[in-house]
Amino acid sequence: MRPCGVFDKSYALDIAIIRTWQHWVILISALILLYLFPLFGSYYLISFINSLAITVIVVLGLQIVSGYCGQISFGQDAFMAIGAYTSAILTIKLGFPFWIALPLSGIVAGAIGIIGGAPSLRIKGMYLAMATIAIHFVVIWLILHLEITGSFKGLYPLPPSLGGFEFDTDERMYYIIMTTMVIMTYAARNLIRTKVGRAFVAIRDNDLAGEVMGVNLYYYKLLSFFIACFYAGIAGSLWAHLITVVNSEQFTLMHALEYIGMLIIGGMGSIPGVFFGVLFIRILNEVVMFTSPVLAGALPWLGTSPAAALGLTAFGLAVVIFLIFEPRGLAHRWEIFKASYRLYPFAY
């Protein structure tokens, strides 16, 4: 819905993401705030935002393949692992600089993602989900058993450096991670307005109808997997150089399930939905994690471990309540909010 009084007078305006000068002000202010944040933000918040941004990149990829193209994938964490290991191998064993390893990690993960996405040509829905779960286990098994990945010992990539300046703290890595996230978000937002994006939506809504209209299912399904895995690979590379150690235990199926949960809560088929979903789950996780010790301190009879279990229960309860009252995700709630203030004082 357009803001009151805003009319699309040209095609360029019709497809513009930023429509009004107010939008520009908000966007530029947000970007300035984002980049100035390390100057006044606490260390913990910066490190939390770093991991939040990496998760946003992974889930953006998942949104493209699942939310827009309708292909359910539980392999996203495995492809993140591929990106992390590719980056570690390229920088440690082949001497590549991080700046080259970063895009290459995305490309390698994307290329392997095409193989992972191949079953989508024959199977759909839950069957495809099962196939992607199998991919997860195959990838983790290979990581654990190949010599090049350091086997069970893992690898220790170094922090990125540029002209002698080392990005060896969370505060310094923040700028790399944020810039990457902004670029990846912009790319994802643009992608869905292109011919490719519309083809993805056509496949999601009705693949047979899409094919009849000339959408090449074979090409576009594999392309969606490539893009999703490219995103996961980039996130994996950032994670590897942030934490400076990668081992197989860091990439679990639980994460992949959590990413799907983020999509459902945020809203399938919406870029802002990715941010809402990631923020909701991660903040809830963080609150639950840090409330437990406080609870245990305030209520000593409860004990440390039952307090943790209580937190987990609260987490599950919040998700269930949310799914009952807003099954279309937070993005839908956001749309309603926008519509209501744009039409104010009239009801939406």
Binding site: Y44, D170, I243, N247, S248, G297, A298, T304, A309
Partner: protein, 404 residues
């Protein structure tokens, strides 16, 4: 509906406010212990009773006025065995200068945090990864390294083999989780087997969470194993023995297990199937743990009846005892005001030989040692109980046999 919602929100708000009010009442002199434990994930069966022991011990110390007037704050974080969560949790607390020790209850988490610990000049505890002994740093292990204990197990196997009147050397099978922890025992353990001329069969690994182990056990049995070492964290060792029992292997092959199982949990479910299996441990288990007055008195005081007592509780107490000994040494050296993680790191290296009420062998932390102790005991399940079959046995140095 609206009214009910308001009442519900008011209750939630009231609880939150009371929690914040209580938690803000901190002590004047306080130091912190961060436990990155798995309370609700795959190794919760081990972590929960261990942290219960630690928690109760700290409560007891605080109730008596703390260590030289300094109270200890235990921060227990549920990592769910997830590295990302653990790293995030550590980053939340790493800037606290009075955070002296971080206990990372997972090999993977310990490795992920080790670099941050080095940078922060603090001290970290991890279960038993021998790599931290091979490359001396700020990461200390709870007891003897995994490979050292496995080597001691091989020593016992040789003794048992001879006691049975057999000549030559036995054939030993190995089955464990397919992850860094599961493979750690063989980094040095394999070389020690070669040294003893024991034929170690190609190891069998399975993913954590596997429910049936028939295929691995059958393969080892067909290869002629006389002994099989079943690894993993309980309930895994219990489940492996359960499957071996169903295959009729427990009658022909002697099974041994390591630090993490079977615990009281496994024994309460499969006592008959576990009969006769041998277990090695660096802390008191089963009946011996129940007979240790220091351990059981604390349990009774805070947990009541011994019905649900778990020997792992004593191990948690031993962490607390070590922390208190280290804290005393650190306070003596620099006093409370100047006390930092680095002082605790130095103090831990000075408490060599410290006794922990017999729950564990004497403390072996030293400038050239990251091992928590150097001794293990052998136990066996007899008549549904875990009973000792040896005194404290010295563990060989298997870490130095491996090139890390």
């Amino acid at each position: 509906m609206r009214k009910e919602c308001l009442i519900f929100l008011s209750i939630v708000l009231a609880i939150c406010l009371s929690v914040v009010t209580f938690s803000s009442s901190s002590f004047a002199k306080e130091v912190a212990y961060l436990s990155l434990a798995d309370y609700t994930g795959p190794i919760a069966g081990l972590n929960v009773p261990a942290d219960m022991g630690l928690e109760d011990y700290i409560k007891e110390i605080n109730a008596k006025g703390g260590v030289d007037g300094v109270k200890i704050k235990l921060i227990g974080i549920d990592t769910r065995y997830d590295t990302a969560r653990a790293v995030s949790a550590y980053k939340r607390y790493r800037r606290d200068p009075k955070l002296l020790v971080v206990n990372s209850i997972s090999t993977g988490i310990g490795k992920a945090i080790a670099r941050l610990i080095e940078r922060d000049k603090r001290l970290q505890l991890v279960p038993g990864d021998g790599e931290f002994q091979a490359h001396l740093g700020r990461t200390f292990i709870w007891g003897p390294a995994y490979q050292d204990a496995f080597a001691a197990n091989l020593d016992w196997i040789m003794d048992d083999w001879k006691a049975r009147g057999k000549s030559g050397t036995p054939v030993v099978g190995f089955v464990n989780w397919d992850n860094p922890f599961g493979r750690e025992l063989l980094r040095g353990g394999k070389e020690y087997a070669e040294k003893l001329r024991i034929k170690l069969l190609p190891p069998e690994f399975f993913p954590p969470g596997t429910l049936k182990h028939d295929v691995y056990l059958t393969r080892l049995a067909e290869a002629g194993a006389n002994y099989i070492h079943a690894g993993g964290v309980d309930p895994t060792p219990t489940n492996v023995i359960r499957d071996a029992y169903a295959l009729g292997l427990t009658k022909k092959i002697q099974f041994t297990t390591g630090y993490w199982g079977p615990t009281a949990l496994g024994l309460s479910i499969h006592a008959k199937k576990l009969e006769g299996i041998v277990n090695y441990s660096f802390f008191l288990r089963g009946e011996e743990a129940r007979e240790n007055k220091v351990v059981t008195d604390l349990w009774k005081k805070y947990r009541g009846s011994l019905d649900k007592f778990n020997g792992v509780y004593g191990m948690g107490m031993a962490w607390g005892m070590t922390y208190v000994a280290g804290l005393k040494a650190a306070l003596k050296a620099v006093g409370y005001e100047k006390l930092k993680g680095d002082d605790m790191y130095k103090a831990y290296q000075r408490i060599t030989g410290f006794e922990r009420a017999g729950v564990q062998g004497p403390c072996a932390y030293a400038p050239d040692s990251r091992r928590g102790s150097l001794k293990i005991k052998m136990y066996q399940v007899k008549n549904g109980k875990i009973v000792p079959i040896s005194g404290w046995r010295k563990t060989p140095d298997a870490v130095s046999l491996h090139k890390f």
